[in-house]
């Protein structure tokens, strides 16, 4: 089985890799590109821990073939902060203690970023439904939703 050569962009950097046609983008990100911030929780699109963006569209990277990344713009948790300067969402997650174990956090932050890009002023209910695909087992979501609403407000204020 011949490997496929893929040219893509990850967090703004031009990246190329070789993959088997059946490999998922999640596996390539984690195992070949060493971008382990994207987590695997289920491998079936049910938990959202592997959330990334492909051409600004939020997806589960466990349900994307690596070959599909050709020519696309990939965004992962590693690209959210500006070097060591945290994004507002990341900062609010810390201030609100919106994480306990932290395994769902990278996927959630990528998802919240996509949410606030699409809808800078979500209601609590809209935020909850948008994030329904990001499972968190530790927090009961309360502090996550507070962090999201606070981040949205701060970002609107700054805009």
């Amino acid at each position: 089985m011949a490997k496929v050569h893929v040219n893509t962009t990850v967090n703004g950097d031009a990246v190329e890799f070789l993959c088997n046609p059946g490999e998922t983008l999640l596996d390539i990100l984690r195992n070949d590109l060493q971008l382990t911030g994207t987590k695997e929780g289920c491998g079936s699109g049910d938990c959202g821990a592997c959330s990334i963006t492909v051409d600004d569209r939020l997806v589960c990277s466990c349900l994307v073939l690596a070959v599909e990344a050709e020519g696309k713009k990939i965004g992962t948790i590693e690209g959210v902060a500006d070097k060591d300067q945290l994004n507002v969402i990341q900062q609010k997650f810390l201030e609100h203690a919106a994480l306990q174990c932290g395994i769902c956090t990278p996927g959630l932050i990528v998802s919240v970023q996509a949410l606030l890009k699409e809808n800078p002023n979500p209601t609590e209910e809209q935020a909850r439904y948008y994030l329904a695909g990001n499972l968190c087992r530790c927090t009961g979501y309360d502090k996550i939703i507070r962090a999201v609403m606070d981040a949205a407000e701060t970002m609107r204020g700054a805009a």
Binding site: A49, A97, G102
Partner: protein
């Protein structure tokens, strides 16, 4: 949006009680934190397990020839590759296990006992090739009938899982093997006399299904075996010292030959207190000469890690018309899974402990069935038994036309109440929690049509145990807190606050690290709500040790007796003079005054304080479909002292959410052959962001006298009350008794239809 999550009292502390940013936060919000699956080593290969497609079967033959011939396969490991072990009780996390059972759970010894039971392991140069190799292995089975419920397991002619297991705890030693591993009786007073005094008696049998902790991170490890030097295990665990102890024992290694590094841990809730992969991965590494990584797939986590027991619990409670409970009785049956060791006894110890009642009697049955061996799950054993008891308590209150909180207050356990398991309770905060519930805005709010309300108490002991902390002071007066308790929910922040408070040095001056088994003395695992309590006490001890040394150094500089040195806000003061030396100044010159400063706090913490919780749940029921929505929820709990209020609230909220899931939709669904039908997050339905309201919290603080800051553990009690609070709310909304969990739409609709 109203923030209801403020701590209830202002404290006199400077650092404790503040909402500091957790020290490991930056790594965790940027994706830099490394979890169980995140370590790769040069030359590393991938291991996978072959698992049983049957619930109960004899293995007639295994043919691995085709798998071994597949290019890229580096090692195959079966039960026969393990050194022989014999029956021996060993400590694992929150409980104990029989070493032989542990070995046979890691890999089947000629007989598979549940769907997903590991049969062998294969390591190959890629995850894909390892999976292909598994598909090439031929196993011939003789399928046996599966036993899937305590009732079937206890039936006279039930198929027996273990031919050498005889029921323990019976008056007469049995001479036939049984699926009942043990029977334990707990007793105080005389229940028959108690029931004779009662005006009203309610009794029912309740069912709770098998549930999973549902941590989002699957079990994972990377290991390297080294015959001559030291082997290494990197894994996601609540207790890396326990992983080392069990793995070393199973593989006949000395502790010094094995180093275990705790990765960041993506949730555990009790489920990551034992080993499933690590010893197998080490054997693969030994055979192949390569580092080995193993990651469970999600379906393997559900099928073959340790869920929480399904139970059938019968409860009977009697009370007088004036609201006095006269007797409480229970017969508890807990599924242990394939090997003995359910938390039935813990169920018996907790079921009635929120009550100060003279007469109590509980029988606890530990029963094996063809399901995965259960593991600890947040207050192991308590939610199931307390669910049943609290449902009856609420029903009794309704029958007596007494407010359910008043009824609980009237009978509440308090300081001096004798528990069913022996000792009297010390100072506890149940009454304060009940009063806070009664006074909460939630409890004052009227219900709407199709809504119902439930209230429940919850009790968990909490534990202390062995914790070791080193506090290394740097030359600039900052310090590193070296602990050995994996941080599962923000405990590093609490350690910093306790060190800061003790030393009078700003919390940001400290870095907290979770050291591997080489770099700190033994620590018991993160479990039993012990970390902030016990490891926190060790931090305080280490900080006091630092203060003692600082004072000595100052005394030597000033050439005075150490007795005249005070330590105030991080500064040594000569009481007899005007000299002062700050921690930073003392540290900067430490080499000249006797060497670097490092404090030690190695303790076995005693005096863990129980944490009582009281929850209020409002639901709305769609009576045409049986669907239940939680519309308002309040969690009230005694923290003793909240070191970091945000993470205390987080424990209450997370426990509530898990308990609501248990009450409403979570359950293992098996077919009649014992094949698990829902091993994934699609059909094992844990609560989503859109399923829940905000979870209001009240932190009650009745200090634990045994802790320097009054801490009680808060991690576990919060999962206990949601079961009965939610289920009773449903019962209230539909005006019919609920006995079986989950309150899933089909189950609730069936109750509605049966009662209409």
């Amino acid at each position: 949006m109203k923030n209801t999550n403020e701590a209830t009292d202002a404290s006199h502390y400077k650092y404790i009680g503040t909402r500091s940013i957790r020290p490991d936060g930056f790594e965790k919000v940027t994706g830099r934190a490394n979890y169980g699956a995140d370590l790769s080593l040069p030359g590393m290969i991938w291991g996978k397990m072959l698992r049983s497609p049957h619930a109960h079967a004899m293995i007639k033959s295994i043919d691995i020839s085709k798998a071994e011939a597949l290019a890229g396969v580096m090692a195959v490991v079966t039960y026969n590759d393990f050194p022989s072990v014999s029956s021996e009780i060993v400590a694992t996390g929150e409980g104990t296990e029989d070493l032989l059972d542990l070995a046979r759970n890691l890999m089947a010894d000629g007989k598979v006992l549940y769907h997903g039971h590991a049969i062998l392991g294969v390591a190959a140069i890629s995850r894909q090739i390892a999976e292909q190799a598994l598909a090439l292995i031929d196993v011939e089975y003789e399928v046996l009938p599966a036993v899937l419920d305590v009732r079937d397991a206890m039936a006279k002619d039930a198929p027996v899982l273990h031919e050498k297991m005889y029921t323990e705890g019976l008056a007469e030693t049995p001479n036939t093997a049984s699926n009942v591993a043990s029977v334990v009786e707990l007793k105080k007073g005389d229940v028959d006399a108690g029931f004779a005094q009662a005006d009203v008696i309610v009794e029912r049998e309740f069912y709770t299904p098998t549930v999973h902790q549902g941590y989002i991170e699957p079990h994972a490890c990377t290991v390297r075996y080294d015959e001559h030097g030291q082997s290494m295990v990197w894994c996601s665990t609540q207790g890396h010292f326990d992983v080392r102890a069990t793995t070393a024992k199973l593989l006949h290694m000395s502790l010094s030959k094995l180093k275990v590094i705790a990765s960041e841990i993506g949730g555990g809730f009790g489920g990551k207190t034992t080993v499933y992969l690590e010893p197998v991965a080490l054997l693969m590494s030994k055979k192949s000469g390569r580092p080995v990584k193993m990651i469970m797939d999600r379906d393997e986590v559900f099928k073959a890690s340790g869920p929480g027991s399904a139970t059938r619990n019968w409860i009977k409670i009697g009370a007088k018309n004036d609201g006095t409970i006269t007797a409480m009785q229970g017969k508890l049956h807990y599924e242990a899974g394939a090997f003995k060791g359910s938390p039935a006894r813990l169920g018996g110890m907790t079921a009635f402990t929120p009550y100060d009642v003279e007469n109590m009697f509980v029988e606890c049955y530990d029963v094996v069935v063809n399901k995965p061996k259960v593991a600890a799950y947040r207050a192991p054993g308590a939610p199931q038994a307390e669910y049943a008891a609290e449902m009856i308590v609420s029903e009794l209150a309704a029958r007596l036309a007494i407010d359910p909180i008043d009824f609980r207050l009237q009978n509440a356990a308090k300081e001096g109440t004798k528990t069913i398991y022996g000792p009297k309770l010390k100072r506890v905060g149940l009454v304060e929690c009940l009063e806070a519930a009664k006074n909460s805005p939630h409890y004052q709010q009227a219900l709407k049509e199709n809504q119902g309300r439930g209230v429940s108490s919850g009790f968990w002991f909490n534990i202390g145990g062995s914790s070791s902390v080193t506090l290394n002071m740097n030359r600039d007066g900052t310090g590193t807190i070296v602990e050995g308790s994996p941080d599962i929910g923000g405990s590093r922040a609490s350690m910093q606050l306790m060190a800061a408070e003790t030393l009078g040095i700003a919390a940001e001056s400290f870095k907290t690290i979770v050291a591997d088994t080489e770099n700190i003395a033994h620590n018991d695992g993160t479990g039993g709500s012990r970390t902030t309590f016990a490891t926190g006490m060790a931090v305080v001890e280490a900080a006091k040790d630092v203060i003692r040394q600082m004072k000595e150094r100052a005394a030597s500089v000033w050439n005075v007796n150490v007795d005249v040195i005070d330590w105030v806000d991080g500064v040594a003061i000569n009481v007899g003079g005007s000299e002062k030396l700050s921690a930073a100044e003392i540290c900067a010159t430490a080499d000249r005054t006797g060497g670097q400063i490092s404090g030690q706090g190695n303790i076995n913490a005693r005096g863990a304080g129980p944490s009582f919780a009281v929850h209020i749940c409002d639901v709305e029921v769609d009576k045409e479909t049986g669907k239940v929505d939680v519309v308002r929820y309040t969690a009230i709990q005694d923290a003793g002292k909240a070191i970091h209020p945000s993470y205390v609230e987080g424990q209450y909220q997370g426990g509530a959410a898990q308990g609501i899931g248990w009450a409403l939709n979570e359950e293992y669904v098996y077919n009649d052959k014992g094949i698990l039908q829902n091993p994934g997050f699609l059909d094992y339905r844990i609560p989503l962001a859109s399923d829940l309201p905000m979870i209001e919290t009240v932190i009650v603080e009745v200090p634990n006298p045994a802790h320097p800051f009054g801490v009680r553990g808060v991690g576990e009690s919060g999962i206990i009350p949601p079961l009965a609070a939610t289920a009773y709310a449903v019962s209230d909304a539909i005006n019919a008794p609920i006995t079986d969990l989950p309150c899933s739409p089909p189950n609730v609709l069936a109750v509605i239809q049966a009662n209409s």
